[in-house]
Assembly symmetry: none
Homo-oligomer: 121 residues x 2
């Protein structure tokens, strides 16, 4: 997964914003790459696990990926215009781990998204 991952990331970068695995796959095919769909999924999963790529889900459940400059963080999304601000959540990380530990849970992950109306809206 060392050879294909950079190509997948580059394609995701060229895609601009959010893109699904299927879209990344199609884009790579259009550029003549022969990378397989399974490899695209593998690369994106690895990237997500390494926190170099963000993943969130559309309303229909499809996963969308986006290149992420910084490390683990969350989002503040305007429900009207879609404007998205990346936010730090060190307080939340700490809280999540504490809660999990208090309840005997292991391998904890969390979903934290904020929604509201931005200044323009």
């Amino acid at each position: 997964m060392s050879k294909s991952l950079p190509a997948v990331i580059t394609t995701l970068e060229r895609a601009g914003g959010f893109a699904s695995a299927q879209e990344v796959f199609q884009l790579m095919r259009k550029q003549g790459k022969s990378t397989g769909l399974a490899t695209v999924y593998r690369a994106l999963q690895k990237a997500v696990s390494e926190n170099t790529v963000d993943v969130l889900r559309k309303d229909d459940g499809e996963a969308l990926y986006r290149l992420c400059a910084t490390g683990h963080h969350h989002h503040l999304v305007c429900t009207s215009c879609g404007k998205t601000v990346e936010v730090e959540g060190s307080a939340v990380e700490k809280w999540a781990n504490t809660v999990a530990k208090n309840n005997g849970f292991k391998k904890v992950s969390h979903v934290v998204e904020l929604f509201g109306l931005c200044q323009k809206c």
Copy 2:
């Protein structure tokens, strides 16, 4: 959709307030109800659109439904057996409001769910 919806909601309530559409369907079958899977989906969608039921997604993308709690709280869910613990999040509430204010957002809501493996799993 008027006749089946109450039964679906009642079943969701019995499930402990947290279940997938498939689980609700199975539960109803075990109780002798002949309600179809499609109807369960229809009822849950309607309930979500009416804000009487919340929907969130597991890491694998499956949708989970729960009755809207009277009091605001969050959940720690076992990704293996589905065990759910309700947790307080006052630290998170404060953090969410601060972040929103710092970014000029109004009418902020948030989605905060924790996932992991419980002691048994």
